[in-house]
Subunit: 364 residues, 4 copies
Amino acid sequence: MVAGLKRIGILTGGGDCPGLNAVIRGVAKAAMSGGLEVVGIEDGYLGLIENRMRDLTRLDVSGILTRGGTILGSCNKANPAKYSLPDGAGGWTVRDVRDQVVRNYALAGLDAVVVIGGDGTMSGAAELAARGLNIVGVPKTIDNDLCSTEITFGHDTAVATAADALDKVHTTASSHHRVMVVELMGRYAGWLALHAGVATGADVILIPEIPFHVDKVADYCVKRSRGGRGFTIISVGEGAAPAGHDRFVDRVIDNSPDPIRLGGVGKFVAENVEKLTGLDSRVSVLGHIQRGGTPTAHDRLLATRFAYHAYELLTAGRFGRLVVQRDGKIDSVPLDQVANKVRTVPLDYPLIAAARAFGTCFGE
Amino acid sequence: MVAGLKRIGILTGGGDCPGLNAVIRGVAKAAMSGGLEVVGIEDGYLGLIENRMRDLTRLDVSGILTRGGTILGSCNKANPAKYSLPDGAGGWTVRDVRDQVVRNYALAGLDAVVVIGGDGTMSGAAELAARGLNIVGVPKTIDNDLCSTEITFGHDTAVATAADALDKVHTTASSHHRVMVVELMGRYAGWLALHAGVATGADVILIPEIPFHVDKVADYCVKRSRGGRGFTIISVGEGAAPAGHDRFVDRVIDNSPDPIRLGGVGKFVAENVEKLTGLDSRVSVLGHIQRGGTPTAHDRLLATRFAYHAYELLTAGRFGRLVVQRDGKIDSVPLDQVANKVRTVPLDYPLIAAARAFGTCFGE
Amino acid sequence: MVAGLKRIGILTGGGDCPGLNAVIRGVAKAAMSGGLEVVGIEDGYLGLIENRMRDLTRLDVSGILTRGGTILGSCNKANPAKYSLPDGAGGWTVRDVRDQVVRNYALAGLDAVVVIGGDGTMSGAAELAARGLNIVGVPKTIDNDLCSTEITFGHDTAVATAADALDKVHTTASSHHRVMVVELMGRYAGWLALHAGVATGADVILIPEIPFHVDKVADYCVKRSRGGRGFTIISVGEGAAPAGHDRFVDRVIDNSPDPIRLGGVGKFVAENVEKLTGLDSRVSVLGHIQRGGTPTAHDRLLATRFAYHAYELLTAGRFGRLVVQRDGKIDSVPLDQVANKVRTVPLDYPLIAAARAFGTCFGE
Amino acid sequence: MVAGLKRIGILTGGGDCPGLNAVIRGVAKAAMSGGLEVVGIEDGYLGLIENRMRDLTRLDVSGILTRGGTILGSCNKANPAKYSLPDGAGGWTVRDVRDQVVRNYALAGLDAVVVIGGDGTMSGAAELAARGLNIVGVPKTIDNDLCSTEITFGHDTAVATAADALDKVHTTASSHHRVMVVELMGRYAGWLALHAGVATGADVILIPEIPFHVDKVADYCVKRSRGGRGFTIISVGEGAAPAGHDRFVDRVIDNSPDPIRLGGVGKFVAENVEKLTGLDSRVSVLGHIQRGGTPTAHDRLLATRFAYHAYELLTAGRFGRLVVQRDGKIDSVPLDQVANKVRTVPLDYPLIAAARAFGTCFGE
């Protein structure tokens, strides 16, 4: 036990992710057994800013291992450096409230905080660490696109949910000779659409890393249809886009509204394939379903390992670090080394090669 | 065994529905054990029109009980009275090919056909029965909106899939103080959105039978948010519409495109609630996922009971009848009594009263 | 609202059953919305005897719809007419504490109690009703063997769990040419083993209602093995027994311990089939897994309907009644008409006929 | 493509394991795309010995990715060095038929074989490789106890199945104040009972690596009961044993039958805890359910990666090697370096430390 460590806080920031409660439970149970007091900070950084915290008991963290969501609440937008406040005149003003956070941390008697979150949350954590807060970070993303770690909890559950959806449309597609598009999360990286697609034997996989040609996709559907397998399953990440399309510009070429921004890339693919081929096409948009639900056993174990290593870092006084997995092992890196860039799927990723060998179309 | 019954056909028509294979298997296994030959007719009425049939063996129907889809294929659009054919000039022509069907039925040596399908398929079956074909019908719909039977297989599985999705967004909604909309199937009847909504404790349930006011929904979300439960789960059937909205007209009032027709009612609700309340709102559109997947044990049993009763009707020579459930018991009605109208949720359905008593909002 | 009805209690008795919480929630939410106070009675009749009750709030019953178990706790053995107490001399004495229950009911200011439980619990309820307590009963059993109602919540979930297990062993059995026995609950009635067996296409189904001959089962396994399908799946209810075997006698014939009582009927069947046939045989004993877990959507809906009807009976002042399903509809019967006998599977049950037609072996 | 590689075989040996079909499919699809002929060898080494092989087509391996079992069949006992044959006198004789296997391999025109199996199967593969067969091995075990690789497919699915069972009994245990024992597979290593136990927050975890004291377990149950949490969940691996107990000796001490060998360690623990504490105890024995079912998405991905790497080894002419995962990466090791020993859970495994920190009892 590090000298002086008596009272720790836990907060969860960013979007929802299966396994958050498993990490909270793991850190809290280990800390309580180690004689520490544990404080739950509500709604991410908001709790530190607005001084909303509560002491956690064993009962609070009992039975939460299997639950989705976070018992502490979260907040997508709060960042202590850019906190939005009513300006008193009906509008909003943005302030840097990091000093306030430092004060509230001290007032609450905290000796350290475990911060669980994604890229944005960790940037905030690094800044607070620079102001003297003792912080240990635990990375979280269903998208698997954090560059500091090979894998985080939540991704496995999201892949399982997406694969379940792809499995379900498979039978309909084959019975009804249809093109079935399932749009999955993944704005910047295609891990989820790729993993769920390969795990279910999807015929077409479209991901942000590989710009696609919708006519190539249509040709492929026709080829399958003629070959007697009159159906095609398409797994598409929400960030996938046709070659030459800039997803971050509002309108394209002819001044008409961009259909991809308007209706999503899944609908775009389904409508264009149907138009080009005459084949019946349908789309499902899973949305936030992928962020919820009971975590898989795999994610509960990973979350538990991350939580326990966070506790070990705490008790070793190794603050300012982020728990990661490297070469299959749990480890940690400095919080401020977390590059603020996305880990996309490398084009030489073996599962891409495997899928290509199986005949999967990437729309190239 | 009815005199002369030696060879029967089976066909599946209409949209996909979990349990189709269970019915095929049930009819085929009973018929084979009873000494009958069993012919699988491919792709619904298309197989009868185009003479695509194959003899089924025990092996063909082994192991299919748990599979979604239909091993026989289906076809949404084929109707022997209105069959589309290439006109030789690049276009299409529509013909009445019922005589051709009668001929093919005779050529194939069929003594009877079990027709599994929904409303449209049963209309076709009644017409063919009037031409002398020996037909037993088995009703099928995930929407539960056939007026001739209390329940059909497929609905329970669709409710389970929809409930699973609603359960999953529940944790995210509560952790992230969000409005979560899940759009479910049900163009004309709200059974699916109602059953899945009640089964998961959805806060708002919007169904075609009860025109909604989006401002009432928004007020309800705000009330919940102020009451400390900063989230709302909305289960909406695809056929639900605001009061005064005619879902079957392309454009409304001001000549602008109808947003509900364009993006779906789920997106319409999420966008308007967000606009009216400022609360973060998200939408999932399950789509055909609800039609696929392994049938629940409940649906496998129901499909098996329907199948066995169809076989009993066959062997009793009671043709021209549709298997149904009445007062909790398996029974049959004349095929031609199948009114061509939808069974909507009655407004005095006990689960609506129950949901209202629990405080659920129907947008009224 | 009935005059004077202001405060109601809820208790759950007997073994675990998925959907108990859904009933508690349904009754409590409806009652609270109707302006009633709701008291949770702990651990079945024990709470009434030992005066352990607590007021329930909306928060207490929020989020419990999807959870197995009962938030009120239960007790298998407590019966107010035969309550075991320490006798002060290190042993136990049994007393009739019904007067005490009547007193505690009055002291707690209860105007009525909703009693959720099985046969034993309802016998107790009828006796208390005879002493003047206002009671509405809600039947509960995973075994589906209550004679007063066609179906209760919990059975569908138990069938789903059992079917999932049978589905899982199916692939192993067929790959490894094995006999796979799955022992399911059902001491007196075979509903669970029959329903799960038919829903998964089990080859052999052994239930208490049909005494089996283990050599017939063995012959059937050999026949399948020779026929090229080198595997057999056996669904056996725990109460199934060989013809002539009295399950309720400790030792049989030769004074050696009864292997069925000792190791269970599943193990008995597996060992004897292996001995008689030389075929590799394995057994799984699901046990209490069948009583737990998230209720299926189907059971949540049924539980909710039962709960709402219980509330309607309360407010109508129709006490001394048990909610039931008759002819597919929710209804009620007098509590004291609940015959204390088991509803076994009738031998002319259509699913038995169907299974026989499919070639399923019942060990006859 | 290696010169001369034109025709490859695939076989699966040993016990069932979710993901076998995913490997078969992966190897076959990649090989077919690479222009190779693919031969399915039936029932493990039996197919090589008895010359039972069949050419596989794309159709044969289509749609099998999600299925448990193996389309090729397997055989637990066949070993070319010790093949049992009828001796013509009603008994059996054991012969070394490796020469016959070499002959059949040549006769079938095979250039290489992918062997998928566990320890025993790989020993056989190494011996056949020594006789000149071109072999690539793919390791398989739900137990995760192969010493050559960090992980294999199948384990994740088995953990998921076991965790699901433990989750289910959790609600019953807590509602009914019971001790619930779930016996899981793992004869020599405790990975499954440990992983499933930690993933579900089991209170007691008993594994072969840590001999337990049943009185310590009983004391722990009593402590929990007195502490207000009147229930205990016990995850026990089938190979766990009390300190001093030799699981491989038939009878102990007093000449009475060994209860652990007779009824299993799960039943032993439940009965002794009940005897020592008076607490109601129940046991579930999952058995082969853990080996079956649809593989998790995680296992399908891992199986696919293993399969693709096996194909890469084939085409690179790198025979006599076993695909493995090392430091989180797919790699290979020589087949003959596969030590014939079990990879048990190391006592310093971080999840054991984590579980201890959470208060989990290991019976020590």
